[in-house]
Symmetry: C2
Amino acid sequence: MLYMRSIPDDRTTRAVIRDEALRLLAAHGPETVTVRQIAAAAGVSPGLIVHHFGSKEGLRQEVDQYVLDVFEAMLGELTGESGAKLLDPAAGASSLSEVFARHLPDDSPLPTYLRRLLLSETDAGRLLFRRLYDLSRAALDGLATAGLAAPGNDPAVRAAVLLANDLALFLLRDRLTEVLGMDPLSAEGMTRWAPEMLSIYAGGLNAAPPPPQGDTP
Amino acid sequence: MLYMRSIPDDRTTRAVIRDEALRLLAAHGPETVTVRQIAAAAGVSPGLIVHHFGSKEGLRQEVDQYVLDVFEAMLGELTGESGAKLLDPAAGASSLSEVFARHLPDDSPLPTYLRRLLLSETDAGRLLFRRLYDLSRAALDGLATAGLAAPGNDPAVRAAVLLANDLALFLLRDRLTEVLGMDPLSAEGMTRWAPEMLSIYAGGLNAAPPPPQGDTP
DNA sequence: CAGCATGCTAAACAAGCGTTCAGCACTTGT
DNA sequence: ACAAGTGCTGAACGCTTGTTTAGCATGCTG
């Protein structure tokens, strides 16, 4: 057995365990995945996981926090001035999915982990959703101030509707891939999904179909 | 111990086990809930569950099928002629959530079980989603034929968008309840949710706010 | 009334789980 | 060079899991 620990950088054995745990937990969930499976995937013994993280639950919490940090970094680009660009039918139309797609590779386990996080009854999940909701409200506010969208009769609910619609793509990704024959979160899939979504946001279900550059007389 | 089996109706011990399993599985998931927990909730011994259903997995499949049957009966009212009413901004606006709310009590475990079904990688979940997608496509077709909505540039994707938006309410119910301070699937909550949703479908994000009965000059 | 199936329980079983423990290999500070 | 500390393993422990088995009480049928 080789003990390799040449440079004191970040990719320690600890980080490898964290990454493999993230991958497996995203794919199968914390109840299904065993400590032994994670240990095998990381090429270590089960005991080492407890040594590093205290317990299986400790590891899960550390992965949660790690995912939260990564998302927070990505969400940073949506706050402040540029926040109004979110959901803007006229602008580049940066939805959450598009932001994630721009930052993560197509096969990243993070969107799947996000899904589990949002649906799990954990503080991390609640925190993340609250953060996204605040972001959605701020974006709607910005759009309203800029005259690009109406806040509606019930802005709190309208922001929730917009967020829910955006997140549905993550939550139902697998089912949508099955019926559509393509992954709506892939680069190709989004070129079909986003226009339909934005067309509805722009003019509702009755709006005239806009070919690449089209006006209605 | 009493052996009560007076009338040969449906509410057999078997049905009690099925109902308790449904309740517990919806609330905590199949991986978390144990056979002993279900047995205790139903007031029987763990062995009896295996005796009736073969295995824990067998019980889960029977509950899946039972839920599928109940939903199928409810979905029946949406097919055919009346299918066009689904998602119709002008009509009574019967979304999936409203249909379910009309048929089920507020504390029914079925919406929560539906969520798990749709997100689980099971044939039952895939089947149900496919069924709902076909329904959504048919509804959009009907609306288009009636001139009440445009099919969009990509009808297959548009139907998926509408379905995903509808289902998001079920999937994110708990999180939405937290940030909004009310359950959007309750009778009261839907009076706030539906108008915002329909307002967007009717005219997009820029549409003028419609008070109960309002025209735009 | 004998006989057999049915509904059901209590106890036990093997397997798998998360976790603990004793100890080896190696690095670091003195 | 020696002691202390870290990273890590392999085996074991106690517990819980789904499932099996033996057997009892009841109801149906000839």
